[in-house]
């Protein structure tokens, strides 16, 4: 293992200390329990948006804390979900009284830890909503798996819902928007190489020089299938078609009901893309793939979308939701209506995303 670290046990803490000193104008970091929060939190009258997950996906989520995006982010150990005390303390720190929305990527660990935190926050008198992001089309069924994983759409959701909170949306309106944006988004990822969790010291899986892994998540977990390496065009087309041709997807999610004070099951169906749709296209690097290669992927993605009658109206290209030093990429397409586009274009000022200011 060859990494720019001091001691394995200090990786997450030192990264947070670095963030705090680099971005003191935007954010602060609380230690024990660890959370990153907006320097001006709580923001009076505004719903607080909180996300979190394992570390190793930077800039997500800590790098998205700031005006127009997240109010707090709770980083776990590398690739390990954060613990409930982090989200609970973060919620107390940033809640202005307007309530807290947890944006949770659908991984069992994240789900169980956020659910526990939501129960704690609610018991403390905080109104809370807990919305899952589950956009990974590599997972086909929700009956025999833990359901689709939360991947690229998470970044877009955090931007859009963060703008809504800034614009004064209520907690329930933020939750409804968050659920809808998630249902409009679909992603697919692939890996050219594995990655090494510092505490593990060796690559999570082995991938031969002539192979690639398709349908990878963001935690170095093995993907769905292994294939011989191929060209950028073939890879981009294969991923784009998986997304564009993905049929309706249904599953039951658990959400918090503030009136009943308990969890309720909701049955949700995501409709497939159609000719005539306008989309935000997001081409993401897993960490080790250079931006130049992302543009090669985008080039083909744009052609495939055009062939399908789908119009790309905004794009985001770069490393935003990564898997440490893994080489590979993911594609996310998000159907965008006028409201979503307006919120996408709204000003944002975070270490990871900044425009309109």
């Amino acid at each position: 293992m060859k990494k720019l670290i001091n001691a394995v046990d200090d990786v997450v803490r030192e990264q947070l200390e670095g963030m705090a000193s680099a971005h003191s104008d935007l954010l602060k970091v609380h230690f024990d329990p660890n959370y990153v929060y907006r320097a001006d939190a709580p923001v009076a009258g505004k719903v607080a948006i909180i996300s979190g997950g394992g570390s190793g996906h930077e800039p997500m989520h800590g790098g998205f804390v700031g005006m127009g995006m997240l109010h707090a982010a709770c980083p776990g150990e590398v690739f390990t979900s954060p613990t409930p005390d982090q989200m609970y303390e973060a919620a107390k720190a940033v809640d202005s009284g307007a309530g807290v929305l947890f944006i949770v990527k659908n991984y069992t660990g994240d789900v169980l830890n956020f659910e526990t935190a939501a129960e704690l926050a609610f018991a403390d008198g905080i109104r809370v909503q807990n919305i899952l992001i589950d956009d990974d089309v590599a997972v086909k069924d929700s009956l025999y798996t833990a359901g689709r994983r939360g991947v690229g759409t998470t970044v877009l959701v955090e931007k859009i819902v963060g703008a809504a909170a800034e614009a004064g949306y209520s907690l329930d309106a933020c939750a409804d928007l968050c659920r809808r944006v998630n249902q409009y988004g679909r992603s697919m990822g692939m890996a050219l190489t594995s990655c090494t969790v510092p505490a593990a010291g060796k690559p999570t899986f082995e991938l031969g020089d002539a192979e690639m892994e398709i349908g990878i998540g963001i935690h170095g977990e093995p993907g769905q299938k292994r294939m011989p390496m191929s060209t950028a065009d073939e890879i981009a087309e294969m991923m784009a078609l998986e997304i564009l041709d993905d049929p309706a997807y249904s599953r039951t999610v658990r959400e918090w009901d503030n009136d009943a004070g308990s969890w309720v099951d909701k049955f949700l169906v995501d409709e497939p893309f159609q000719a005539g749709d306008q989309v935000i296209a997001f081409v993401n690097s897993m960490g080790g793939t250079p931006v130049s290669e992302l543009y090669a992927i985008y080039r083909k993605l744009a052609q495939v979308c055009a062939d399908k009658g789908v119009t790309i109206v905004r794009n985001l290209i770069g490393p935003y939701i990564t898997s440490l030093e893994m080489q590979g990429c993911s594609i996310t397409l998000l159907k965008a209506d006028a409201e979503i586009l307006k919120l996408w274009d709204a000003p944002v000022n975070t270490p990871g995303l900044r425009w309109g200011i």
């Binding site: 150990e77 833990a146 998540g217 935690h219 769905q224």
Partner: protein, 211 residues
């Protein structure tokens, strides 16, 4: 025989040592069908429990177990953190202020813990999770106690059942947790959580068994 508070404390200490000895092994099992952190998560959690234990070692058994649960919830992360955390919280609530446990108390302790896992994670049998070790173990313990067996022989039947349950996860396709994303590729690997659960029960038996 009855189980004393000191034996419960001893169990937790032994368990911490066993998990740390098996850190690499559990992590390696998790790297085959997960994200290569289960041993790391469990060791981090039980190291924290070891820091907290001296402060509560003279309290009642319920208090000791609840402290263990809270500590695991706030230090393990992953799926196993809330699951094992809930296990110990619930088992602590079930035994309450007792300072010794008879064999029925011991059953209630384990039963309440496993019910907690089921409520949090909603696993069913053969999902290829830790529940696949616990469910047959509880069943074996129940029938051994009903047959009038003493604590130790009954518990060793439970451990044998947990071991079988753990090994039976190998041919299963995972339907819960990270491993479920692998589909058929999860077949042929032993579940890391079922393995740590087996170690948990085994170290309870080893603690109670006179050397």
């Amino acid at each position: 025989m009855s189980v004393t508070r000191d034996q419960i404390v001893q169990w937790l200490e032994n368990l911490a040592a066993v998990l740390s000895e098996n850190k690499e092994y559990l992590t390696q099992l998790d790297s085959a069908i997960g994200d290569a952190d289960h041993g790391i998560n469990m060791t981090r959690g039980f190291n924290k429990v070891m820091e907290k234990l001296p402060g509560v070692a003279d309290k009642d058994i319920g208090n000791i177990l609840k402290t263990t649960g809270m500590t695991l919830i706030s230090s393990v992360g992953g799926a196993s953190g809330p699951l094992y955390g809930t296990f110990f919280m619930r088992s602590g609530m079930a035994v309450g202020a007792k300072e010794t446990l008879n064999r029925e108390d011991l059953y209630e302790l384990l039963k309440a813990g496993v019910d907690g896992i089921v409520q949090r994670g909603r696993p069913v049998l053969a999902d290829k999770t830790m529940y696949d070790a616990w469910a047959p173990a509880l069943e074996a313990l129940r029938s051994a106690l009903d047959a009038g067996m003493e604590t130790l022989p009954a518990l060793s039947q439970a451990v044998a059942a947990a071991e079988t349950g753990m090994k039976n996860t190998i041919p299963l396709q995972a339907r819960k947790g990270r491993a479920s994303y692998l589909g058929e590729r999860s077949i042929g690997h032993q579940d890391p959580g079922a393995t740590s659960s087996y170690l948990m029960l085994k170290s309870l038996l080893d603690t109670l068994q006179p050397a």
